[in-house]
């Protein structure tokens, strides 16, 4: 990989140990993927949750901070492994919280934006079409490439912080035009969409597309950005997908020909039975749940308002908890607008700045989780510690409330 004289200086350690460490990571990756050069990025999104980073990740982030590292571009952060405000009330052990707070402190020292959300694009990180960014968090990368039209690879932990500190990323993968062309087409041919259908469809696309960029036709005209958030997250949980061309939505993909550049591609029709197969895949148990987990990825304030409405006049049944996961920003809005108290009145809880798939569910005593998140179902099933049932939101509410 070609480095300019300034990048060579950084690699030689002339701008301090933190930037040298960052440059070593970025250049080794650049060489491994045959990137010609490093290109500037407009923002970064990094991971700093203890459940995956472990003590080693704490030591890496602290090292970056202690050696004088500072984020060069606006940098946002994925959820923590605990509710940073209410962790005690959720039963998180003290020693576990302490390690998460070490990550928080190091991240703050590096100059990061305190958002702790996986939907930074709905809260505090707003690139425009065509810009290069370096985001970790697979679901947000799909949203970036497919809905915003900016360009991001799925950035691996460790490299995320390195890119943020340097303000550059290797030129490869989804940053290059030729890798963004659709190579397989999906058509939704099953009629009306439920909340679950967006997720099951995404999951199916993730399973069947493999490493090919897909194009999707047949979305309803009233599809929301929240629907697309869940569709993309489910796809990314099921496979290596980093972009879906949503016809008429993705910038530059008004027509089928735009997405495929006129090349012939495999066409896959998705019918109701295909979605039912996905539901069966994701549904591992018929046991009574002890936790309903909503919001993987984080719910927006609009979705929280809808949830409050569904819960109106209802009460959670005994022995089942409901946690709806959201950003601190949406939590605050919910507080101000009365949505929070409506949700609490039904016996459910909002949890902010963390999310179910990265929180220690087993440690907290949960064995069976009921959710409408395909992403949560996929991740939890691969661990095998907690059983998951996968169902539409209305079914869930009917079952767990009276």
């Amino acid at each position: 990989m070609r480095l300019d004289s300034n990048q060579e200086r950084i690699l030689a350690g002339e701008e301090g140990e933190a930037r040298q460490f960052a440059m070593e990571i970025v250049t080794k990756v650049g060489d491994a993927v045959d990137a010609g050069s490093l290109v500037p990025i407009k923002s970064a999104h990094v991971l700093a949750h203890y459940s995956s980073l472990h003590d080693a990740g704490v030591e890496v982030l602290e090292r970056f901070a202690e050696k004088g590292g500072k984020f060069k571009v606006p940098t946002t952060v994925d959820p923590a492994s605990i509710d940073l405000q209410g962790w005690r009330s959720f039963g998180i052990p003290e020693d576990y919280a302490r390690q998460q707070f070490r990550l928080c402190d190091a991240y703050t020292k590096l100059g990061g934006i305190q958002c702790w959300t996986c939907v930074q694009y709905q809260v505090c990180n707003f690139p425009k079409p065509g810009e290069a960014v370096a985001w970790a968090e697979s679901s947000s990368v799909v949203f970036a490439n497919s809905v915003i039209g900016c360009r991001s690879n799925k950035i691996t932990s460790g490299m995320d912080v390195a890119c943020a500190i340097l303000g550059v990323t290797p030129m490869f993968g989804m940053l290059a035009d030729e890798n963004r062309v659709a190579k397989v087409a999906f058509r939704a041919s099953f009629g009306k969409f439920s909340d679950l259908d967006f997720r099951s469809l995404g999951y199916l696309i993730g399973k069947k597309a493999g490493s090919r960029v897909p194009v999707l036709e047949g979305l309803p005209s009233n599809v929301t950005s929240d629907d697309l958030k869940h569709l993309g997250a489910s796809a990314a949980a099921a496979g290596p997908i980093t972009m879906i061309h949503y016809l008429g939505i993705t910038p530059g993909s008004a027509t089928f020909k735009d997405a495929t550049e006129g090349e012939k591609v495999e066409q896959i029709d998705v019918i109701r039975g295909d979605l039912e197969d996905m539901e069966e895949d994701l549904n591992q148990t018929n046991d009574k749940p002890d936790l309903v987990a909503l919001g993987v990825p984080h719910l927006s304030i609009t979705e929280l308002g809808y949830l409050a409405k569904l819960l109106e006049g209802r009460k959670m049944r005994k022995g089942i908890r409901m946690y709806a996961y959201t950003s601190s920003q949406a939590f605050e809005l919910a507080q101000k607008t009365g949505i929070l108290s409506d949700i609490q009145a039904a016996g459910a809880r909002l949890s902010q700045s963390t999310d179910a798939e990265i929180s220690p569910l087993k440690k907290l005593g949960f064995n069976t989780v009921l959710t409408n998140s395909a992403k949560l179902a996929e991740i939890v099933s691969s661990e095998g510690e907690v059983q998951v049932r996968y169902a539409p939101l209305r079914t869930i509410i009917d079952e767990v409330t009276s």
Binding site: K28, A32, L47, A56, T156
Partner: protein, 141 residues
């Protein structure tokens, strides 16, 4: 096993020698290896129950979460990491984890890619490998 030499591509330099451990399926450290023991826990892995500690770990390509680099690094911190990683496709979590291991824990774990899958099936029965992450050389002992 037939002694011989094969050449892949060196991604992170350094040399290592050790017993080979081969997975023929996509591999991940994230929720796939217990850092406290080095034991493979992934329910979808063909080497579930094996221990990666001190091994020359070979697999065709990575999969899953972008946090695999951090899980890999935690095995290093706990002294349970493989001695080297040899893959067919480039696994960035291996490259990144190895760079972090050298800087933070002063531990050199060479990483190679481009070693053909066909070689893996030959090696599956065990044996000892010497690898050089600078030259990409893999010597079957």
């Amino acid at each position: 096993m037939i002694p011989g030499t094969t050449r892949g591509r060196g991604l992170v330099s350094g040399t290592a020698e050790g017993e080979v451990l081969v997975s023929l399926k996509a591999f991940t450290f994230a929720h796939g290896v217990d850092p406290a023991t080095g034991v493979v826990t992934d329910i979808r892995s063909d080497i579930r129950g094996s221990n990666v500690r001190g091994k020359i770990l070979c697999y065709p390509w990575g999969k899953g979460s972008t946090t695999a680099s951090a899980w890999f690094l935690e095995t290093v911190r706990r002294g349970n990491s493989p001695a080297a990683l040899v893959t067919e496709g480039v696994d960035l979590s291996a490259v990144i984890g190895s760079v972090m291991a050298r800087v933070v824990y002063n531990k050199n774990i060479p990483v190679l890619s481009g070693v053909p899958a066909a070689r893996f099936s030959d090696l599956k029965r065990g044996g000892v490998l010497f690898v050089d992450g600078a030259t990409g050389e893999v010597v079957i002992k």
